[in-house]
């Protein structure tokens, strides 16, 4: 960078710094931070139709649920078929309140129930990153869901019953690392959306937080990740968990499959180590819940110390 321009940037940055460190970001830095937010969210791979070689983040991926098949939407900045016309406020409202720009309610297959905890800065960065991508023209597909679950009004009623927008609020009695981990797990990485069982009406069962879902998204089994000794991941060390999120290998050398593999490959493996350690710090403190989803007892190779 020419010295003159560098000086100008420097002065401008210094002036902004007096307001807030983040305001001093260049557009490139903002986009880079947004990319990191997307990675901490697991890469938003629900919006990529891998099976049909769909373009990244252009939607159309079928997401099967007990209520039918939803199709994810195009979140590239295409003005016609994507989110190219959305303002920052539209984006924040969709993510944190589950409302489309026209005010209609989103179905909870879109995990705004977690994203509602996200900070202003992270959302601004995420949107900047999405808007830095090439727009892809790809029409959204109507959902294939049975009434009454197909009616937008029922999404409204669902929200009224089960959803209260709320920013993440740190617990001052805990360390900064714990709070960072809690923020990532709850709001950004939305681990609980897959790893927590749901009630009959499809709401996350908060009393069984992270206790595993035998019929999770796309029908996949998402294991119990509470620190329960024998049915959760209580025997994993923090190092084991960081390694799993970086490399996709559990302590027994088995590889992560399905949705977890996707979120690692397109997201978690790129997350800074300190953040992964923060996630481990927080996870070690959630209440251990006994919930056996996989039976190792009859498996000769895994000696189970349980009777």
């Amino acid at each position: 960078m020419p010295a003159g321009r560098a000086a100008v940037v420097f002065t401008a940055a210094a002036a902004l710094l007096s307001n807030s460190a983040i305001a001093a970001e260049t557009p490139d830095e903002l986009v880079a931070r947004g990319r990191a937010v997307l990675e901490a969210a697991g890469g938003c791979t629900c919006h990529t139709d891998f099976d049909d070689d769909g373009p990244p983040l252009a939607g159309g991926r079928p997401l099967s649920t007990p209520f039918g098949v939803y199709y994810s939407t195009n979140i590239t900045p295409d003005p016609e078929t994507g989110i190219g016309r959305w303002s920052d406020a539209d984006f924040a409202r969709a993510m944190r309140e589950g409302r489309a720009p026209d005010g209609s309610a989103y179905f909870p297959v879109f995990p705004y129930t977690s994203f509602t905890g996200m900070s202003d800065e992270d959302l601004r960065a995420l949107k900047a990153y999405l808007f830095s991508l090439a727009p892809v023209r790809r029409e959204n597909r109507p959902h294939d869901v049975w009434p009454p679950f197909s009616w937008r009004l029922s999404a409204r009623i669902w929200q009224w019953l089960h959803f209260e927008p709320a920013r993440f609020s740190p617990d001052p009695s805990q360390t900064a690392a714990w709070n960072r981990g809690a923020y990532l797990v709850h709001a950004v990485a939305h681990c609980g959306e897959c790893h927590t069982p749901r009630t009959l009406t499809g709401a996350i069962d908060r009393s069984r937080w992270l206790a595993g879902a035998s019929d999770g998204p796309e029908g996949e089994l998402a294991p119990n990740i509470t620190p329960h000794e024998t049915t959760g991941i209580g025997r994993w060390t923090a190092t084991d968990l960081v390694w799993y999120l970086q490399m996709g290998f559990d302590p027994d050398g088995d590889d992560a499959q399905g949705l977890m593999r996707e979120t690692i490959e397109h997201g978690f493996q790129h997350v800074p180590r300190t953040d992964l350690e923060a996630i481990a710090t927080y996870l070690a403190t959630v209440p251990p819940i006994e919930n056996r989803l996989l039976d190792h007892a009859d498996h000769a190779d895994h000696a189970d110390p349980e009777p």
């Binding site: 035998s214 027994d252 050398g253 190779d301």
Partner: protein, 169 residues
């Protein structure tokens, strides 16, 4: 007596072979039981693969001063890949196994996956001998992807696993 047998090594061999065959329980020869044996053997073999990968993982993730062991595990994994290819030749897909029938419907595709495991393991053995930690980490991941890619097509996912709690048996 002992002296005489030592004098006749072949006699001893015949006696030993006869005794062990006679001692085999009859059911071990029935087809159903050997299906069970095939499944059990395959699972032990695959657990061994997991143990090798887990051991490599421990060396790297805890930064143990045992990096020189990685080349040995990689060589083992390369050899195991051949055992895997052979152990899955016989079609046993019913019973307490997560092997998908596709293994025997698309034997060539399965063969390619075990070959990929071998290729990546051989590469790891070569790279590990060099000792560049970053390159080793990358190749371990490549080897892991070979596992994952085969499992994607040929191993039942957890929700379909015989190990799923309440899946019955």
């Amino acid at each position: 007596m002992a002296v005489r047998l030592v004098d006749r090594p072949l006699g001893l061999l015949a006696l030993v072979v006869f005794a062990s065959v006679a001692a085999l329980p009859a059911r071990a020869q029935s087809p159903a039981a050997s299906d069970e044996g095939t499944i059990r053997y395959r699972q032990k073999l695959m657990s061994g693969v997991g143990a090798d990968m887990g051991a490599i993982g421990d060396i790297l993730k805890y930064g143990l001063p045992l990096q020189s062991h990685i080349a040995t595990y990689a060589t083992l994994l390369s050899q195991r890949s051949e055992l895997v290819a052979a152990a899955f030749e016989r079609d046993v897909s019913a019973g307490p196994t997560d092997a998908k029938p596709e293994i025997w419907q698309e034997p060539e595709a399965f063969r390619e996956k075990t070959q990929a495991m071998k290729d990546e393991a051989d590469k790891l053995a070569a790279i590990a001998a060099g000792g560049d930690a970053a390159a080793i980490g990358q190749q371990v991941k490549a080897l892991g992807d070979a596992c994952g890619s085969c499992h994607d097509s040929f191993r039942k996912p957890k929700e379909e696993s015989y190990k799923r709690a309440g899946a019955g048996s």
